[in-house]
Amino acid sequence: MKTPETRYARSGDIRIAYQVVGNGPTDLVFIPGFMSNLELHWEDPGYSHLLHRLAAFTRVIQFDKRGTGLSDRVDAHHLPDLATRIEDVHAVMDAAGSGRAVLLGASEGAPMAILFAATYPQRTRALVLYGAYAHFHSSVMGAKDVEAFIQQIETSWGNGSSVLSFAPDQARDEHFKDWWARYERMSVSPSAAIALTRMNAAIDVRPILRSVHVPTLVIHRSDDVRISCAGARHLAQEIENAQFVELPGRDHPIWTGDVDRIANEIEEFLTGARPQTDQDRLLAVIMVARLAAPLQPGLFRSDSQWSERVDHLQQTARETIDRHHGKTITVENDHVRAWFDSPTRAIRCALALRDNADFLGFSLSVGVHAGEITVRNDRAFGAALYVADCIAALAGRDEILVSAIVGDLAGACGLHFIERAMEQFDGIDMPVHILAVMAEQHLEPLRRRIKAPDLHVLTSREREVLGLVAEGLSNPAIARRLQLSDHTVKRHVANILLKLDLPTRAAAAAISAKQ
């Protein structure tokens, strides 16, 4: 999607970059934490989802604080204090025509929002504080830890390793880590990061908490790795009539983890209405591809060679899924999960992944299943995912197994299936009927067929079906004639083609006619 236009507000001699998203009745000024970059926010699915959620009921005004992101740089050795920074909020609100706004202060943005609300109550409609603190040293880190963090900035700023200190649950996601590294580099320089850390370490707004007299909501994750939950609870107790909501989780950034829970709390606080909860439920086809084994023992002579191939496989997997209009759920060292809006796309993607893996010397086992899933924040949940995992676990090397519902939905798409088994998976009420996907044959074999296929390999029922195929009957017509289901006839025809190694039913009809 097109990102919103970045505009600039004048705050004294400094220009502050801001964006406006949505046009809800209430203005919401989003005061970010330690670092930000307006344009990079849109590249992270969690961040953009949060902004879209908020923009459904407010007009979101987000900005980069002076010295960060797209705003003017300032002398890292003479950073502005909090009082100067709240004038930047003022300037952005004026430029955007906001008379009064809800202030959403996240992390270091929270003390700034508190100071603004105490200084300009007439321009503050309400306060929402997330991952907040009033006193840095008691809630975030002590003096010794500050020096250790600064040392970490000295040695590794820009490579994304700080993600572990902020969002450990995201650290396994390579895409997120890459994004986080760029986020570091494009939000603040290393010198500014050190100076901001020292400045933030001096924050203590405890004396003004009782001067806040606007409706306030404080949201905090129970196990926030960065900021103490007890500190946030105390902060909420000190602000007149503040509501405190504790949510599960340990990742600190507001745009990570269960973003919808946070957006729901904010929406209910501001509008009085709980948002609908079934909007993110959809019918999807889930594909799970597991790395089975290298094609030949000893194919990879070193761990690095193995690791390079796996990296390449993961990268091509994402591209292949995108090309088939799928959404990647997870890409790990030993498996890939994705969902699609069509069974044919899911299976064709599985075939392409299998070819890619084969090229790289691996074999894959793939399971495909269709069912309802919940998609939140670009992450998917649901029993259908578990069933797809179980089917993938059943698949042998290079095998693609699908549930019968996928085979039925795929219909006349040129794919062929053969019966495999009925399986009962733990925790699932009904047994699942499993089919195997057959390789397609678009072209006749290059060499001439020496021997005509032997019809004795067919069962008597299959020979009966073949005879009716030779008469030119369609599957439904054969089904009526033999009093079978369409589905069963389709399976018989697929088995006939497989056993006779023939590409089409017309070829099968010709063989039958000859014999």
């Binding site: 236009e5 025509g97 009064r100």
Partner: protein, 120 residues
């Protein structure tokens, strides 16, 4: 200042909107009025609904706190229905355009649907 007796007409709506008089606007609505907003973030299958006069008063109070211009250009009246267009601009140049359909009952607005688009 009591504003509750003013008749709801195209001219009265235009005057209240253009002067950003939220209290006047709120007084035009029946106690159980419903305001529906349809836009990119609130599609037709899930419009945003603001129900009841107090919630509608808060809605207009918020909108009228913005330092922006509003111009009601066209209004059409037919029986118990009023329709009008509204062109708005923020100080940084961003524009908003709305179409509103109003249904009157007992001299008050009972239902209103707003369809809006804006610069982003």
């Amino acid at each position: 200042m009591s504003t509750s007796t003013m008749e709801v007409t195209g001219a009265a709506l235009k005057s209240a909107i253009e002067s950003r008089n939220g209290r006047m606007l709120a007084s035009f609505y029946a106690d159980d009025a419903m305001l529906r907003v349809i836009d990119r973030n609130n599609p037709p299958s899930r419009p945003r609904e603001i129900r009841g006069q107090p919630a509608i008063a808060t809605f207009f109070d918020d909108i009228c706190s913005r330092a922006m211009t509003h111009e009601v250009a066209t209004s059409v009246a037919e029986g118990n229905h009023l329709a009008f267009t509204q062109a708005c601009a923020y100080p940084d140049g961003a524009k908003v355009f709305c179409l509103a359909m109003v249904e009157l009952s007992g001299g008050k607005i009972a239902r209103q649907t707003i369809v809006q688009a804006w610069d982003e």
